[in-house]
């Protein structure tokens, strides 16, 4: 426990607050000291912890794979190359079964998303109090270590994917073709407004569902870990129960983090394939 003096509500609130750097309402810049202060900063703020851990996990991915890539040989691969190739091969296979167009960006993007999101999700498996307690010892009051429980992070990736959907749609089909697809589908042309609304919603739903699915799953998982951690304050019996529950939930969560990372990567590839799909009928 960060500190036994906190009541459960404060403990949970503490765990769900990002380390926020931003502009205070009085115009000065600095770290927010409470959740209310952070909320009051509005858009003019940045979650230092989310950025830190997403960059750290991203760098872990980059250096791990870059090391393997630099030493990659067509001969007998070493253990690291074996491991990395396993993942690359998996992503390559998955991408090729879904995405049948010429675009060298899609598979590397799917790999980056899969491994990076997995690593960000993996931060959830580190016992919830370890890093925040360490940070508190160093004088940092808030430390939310799972970047994928921050909607900013997941939505940023989802909207980046959305940007690529728009970019590739227009590039492959032309602006007219893309708008035509939105307007003349699924009903006949004279129902174009209805079509536009339907297709517009479908289009907007893609990034929203992509980002919110990951956020929701990770946020809920994190919340359950926090709730389980609360049991450790309740004496030996509750502590043992908490230990058991944490172990069980962590086992289950291993599946969730992998599944969510995979879903994010695969849906990205699916959306890219849809963006490249030139339907001749319309």
């Amino acid at each position: 426990m960060a500190s036994a003096a906190e009541n459960p509500a404060e403990y949970i609130q503490h765990h769900l607050t990002n380390l926020t750097f931003g502009q205070h309402p009085d115009g000065t810049w600095g770290l927010a000291h409470t959740a209310e202060e952070a909320a009051a900063m509005g858009f003019n703020a940045i979650h230092v912890d989310s950025m830190l851990w997403s960059v750290v996990t991203g760098l872990v991915f980059f250096f791990l794979f870059r090391t393997a890539a630099k030493k990659a040989t067509a001969g007998v691969p070493g253990p690291l190359q074996n491991f990395v190739e396993l993942i690359v091969d998996f992503i390559d296979d998955t991408t090729r079964t879904i995405f049948n167009y010429q675009n060298s960006l899609i598979a590397p993007m799917a790999l980056t998303i899969f491994v990076w999101v997995w690593l960000m999700n993996f931060m959830d498996l580190i016992p919830v109090d370890w890093i925040p307690t360490l940070a508190a010892m160093m004088g940092v009051h808030y430390m939310k270590v799972v970047p994928s429980t921050d909607p900013n992070v997941t939505m940023a990736m989802a909207f980046s994917v959305f940007g690529l959907i728009l970019f590739f749609s227009i590039k492959e089909k032309g602006l007219g073709g893309f708008l035509g697809e939105l307007a003349f589908h699924p009903f006949p042309k004279w129902l174009a407004p209805v079509n536009l609304i339907l297709e517009g919603v479908t289009l907007i739903a893609k990034p929203l569902s992509l980002g919110l699915r990951l956020f929701g799953n990770m946020y809920a998982g994190e919340m359950i870990f926090v709730l389980i951690a609360l049991l450790f304050t309740g004496g030996v019996a509750y502590g043992l129960l908490g230990g058991l529950l944490q172990w069980g939930w962590a086992m289950f969560h291993v599946l969730i983090i992998s599944l969510q990372a995979f879903i994010f990567a695969v849906l990205t590839v699916v959306y890219m394939a849809q963006a490249h799909e030139v339907d001749e009928e319309h």
């Binding site: 703020a45 950025m51 980059f62 393997a68 890539a69 190739e85 060298s104 590397p108 900013n152």
Partner: protein, 156 residues
Amino acid sequence: MNLNWTMVGQTITFIVFVWACWKWIWPLLINAMRERQQAIAEGLASAERASKDLELAQERAGDQLRAAKEEAAALIEQARVRANQLVEEAKNEARVEGERLKDAALVEIEQEVNRAKEALRVQVAALAVAGAEKVLGESVDANRHSQLLERLAAEL
């Protein structure tokens, strides 16, 4: 949900990492893997080719072995025939030689006998003359009676 600049920051981070993976990670790994696949495919193909070659070679070796055996058998047969022939020839030769030796020996024996007879005849003649001298009391003129004596010796 506090949406703020984190989103922008994360978008930039996302673009940077995807770009880095696109440029510096993916091509190297996928090329190495493709190359290895190629190498393995070639290795398997050449292994198959080698095993086919081996099969052919074994077949050819078998053929050659069979041919060699047949040849050897023919040679042995030939040699046997020849050996029999040689033995036959040697036997014939030996028989002929034996005959020849026997004939020569017979001839020699006959000659010896004749020579012995001759010698005996001479000696008998001499004895007869000596005996007759004794009987007659005078010497017989060997020169005068030699013709008679020779006739006598020839009759013996």
